[in-house]
């Protein structure tokens, strides 16, 4: 589903965010991407959605070579990949329902149909009661759910969540992870960046470890290893 071959990303300032990263992720996998701040997690995600272009190497999402993808296919790529951004990127002057409807509006879906779809998804992530509230009126966990709902409106094949538990308490963090886990069970590939070792250690999932832009480990946790940890 996702294949990276010797991917490097250098910025014009000379900073190297990723260096010679190679891995692949199969359809339907749940993968954690871990690493300290500045290790390249967010850069990796931005490369997936073609916000950045790799300086070297190749990225394939399905059949598409992302580095050489024509601009006209970018909207299609971004429908294929739902993203929960680290800073959520919810519009402050729009209600939660309007925020979730935004990607549907962007593709020209009829208002009534878009609203119906957005309501279904808000129900799925359990914040339907807050649909008419503005982002400032919601708690951290509820905002994460709203961002997840918006990322899911196109029923994407891949869902990327960039540190969705970053500012949440333990209970809320687990609720979000459970929600992502449930989404993964429906067949969606989920890639989640996190610092939370408790969550990583408690779930027997594949973990990609980045450090200073390099992939330093690619391992699958098992319950046994979990005990050892």
């Amino acid at each position: 589903m996702i294949r990276l071959g010797n991917v490097s990303k250098k910025f014009p300032t000379g900073n190297s965010a990723l260096s010679d990263v190679t891995f692949s992720i199969d359809k339907g996998e749940f993968v954690f991407v871990v690493g300290p701040s500045g290790s390249g997690k967010t850069t990796l995600f931005r490369l997936f959605i073609r916000e950045y272009i790799p300086t070297e190497g190749t990225i394939h999402i399905g059949e598409w070579d992302i580095g050489n993808l024509s601009d006209k296919y970018i909207p299609l790529l971004r429908k294929k990949i739902g993203v929960v951004f680290q800073d959520l990127k919810l519009l402050r002057d729009r209600t939660i329902l309007e925020n979730v409807m935004l990607p549907l509006d962007v593709v020209g879906m009829d208002d009534e149909e878009a609203e119906k779809k957005a309501i279904d998804i808000l129900d799925q992530v359990s914040i339907l009661d807050h649909k008419d509230k503005f982002p400032v009126q919601l708690s951290g966990g509820e905002l994460q759910r709203a961002a997840i709902a918006r990322a899911l409106v196109f029923s994407p094949e891949i869902l990327i969540a960039d540190e969705p538990t970053g500012n949440l308490d333990a209970t809320t963090s687990w609720e979000i992870v459970k929600l992502l886990h449930d989404i993964n069970k429906t067949g969606t590939t989920v890639i989640m960046a996190t610092h939370n070792t408790d969550i990583i250690n408690s779930l027997a999932k594949r973990v990609l470890v980045l450090d200073k832009g390099k992939l330093v480990a690619d391992e699958k946790k098992t319950p046994k290893e979990h005990k050892k940890d």
Binding site: P75, F85, L102, P103
Partner: protein
């Protein structure tokens, strides 16, 4: 329709900026309308003057009735003259009293029968013959002055051409100014919405999806401004029509034809749409690169 609603919402959130943009547009179109009235009005006056083949000859006081009769006969013999009308000193005074002095005693006292010259209005079949007739008449020594419509037409043409040049310069300056003001207003809104635009792009929005509400905003400012400018100019013209009619007398320019006014507003709206699109396009372009 949804995009238009978004634009209206955007406009309502910043009413003073919207007013600034509409006012500058209204000023531009008010000027365009006023110059259009002047240019089309003077074109109609010129046309009327050109279609009136008339030479007026003024006689010196020493001209005898025989001289005048002889002149009339020789003019008739040319075969180019359709009719002639002799205006005696007495007739001239009567014309002065009724048309100019309008029974104003002070004005009437200023002029007596002796002050005014007798004259002969000569009408030709063909406008092209006016020049020949005027030259022929000038050769008689009892003729004081010869006026014919070509002189008036030439004068009017010079004036109109001057007004048109000034009008074009003023309109071009105002159009450039309104584009800049609209670019500033829309550009400010675009910069306020920069985060939103970034988010929309991340959510797969095309450049046109982002651009359309701003383009509509420009069109709305332009069209409202054009309507206001046209309405103010038209109301002004209708208000001034009775006064202007007394000046223009027999020249059939006023009241302005409704078809002309309708044509003008349609033309102005089209220009306004073009200006709105241009200004918003330029304002958004920077942010979509």
């Amino acid at each position: 329709m949804r995009t238009v609603k978004k634009s209206i919402k955007q406009i309502r959130r910043t009413p003073f900026q919207a007013l600034a943009a509409v006012f500058v547009m209204a000023l531009t179109f008010l000027t365009i309308s006023v110059f259009a009235f002047i240019v089309f009005g003077s074109a109609a006056i010129i046309k009327h003057a050109e279609s009136t083949p008339q030479v007026t000859t003024f006689f010196k006081d020493e001209a005898t009735p025989q001289d005048i009769e002889q002149l009339q006969k020789s003019l008739k013999d040319t075969g180019k003259v359709s009719s002639m009308r002799y205006v005696s000193k007495k007739d001239a005074l009567e014309i002065y009293r009724t048309r100019i002095a309008k029974n104003d005693e002070y004005l009437m006292e200023l002029v007596t029968e002796d002050t005014l010259p007798a004259s002969l209005d000569i009408y030709t079949f063909d406008i092209a013959d006016l020049d020949v007739i005027a030259k022929t008449v000038r050769n008689y020594d009892f003729i004081d002055d010869v006026q014919y419509s070509q002189d008036v037409v030439d004068d009017l043409k010079n004036w109109t051409s001057g007004i048109r040049t000034i009008g074009i310069v003023v309109i071009v300056v105002l159009i450039v100014e309104s584009i800049f003001v609209m670019m500033m207003v829309i550009g400010f809104k675009v910069s306020q919405k920069r985060d939103e635009i970034d988010i929309m792009k991340l959510l797969s929005a095309s450049n046109w999806y982002i651009r359309w509400p701003f383009v509509w905003e420009g069109i709305i400012y332009g069209v409202i401004g054009a309507m206001i400018g046209w309405i103010v100019a038209t109301v002004g013209l209708l208000y001034a029509t009775p006064f202007l009619e007394t000046i223009l007398e027999s020249i059939p320019v006023l009241p302005a034809s409704p078809l002309f006014l309708l044509g003008l507003v349609v033309f102005e709206i089209l220009i306004a749409i073009f200006l709105g699109i241009t200004a918003s396009f330029l304002a958004v372009r920077r942010y979509l690169k």
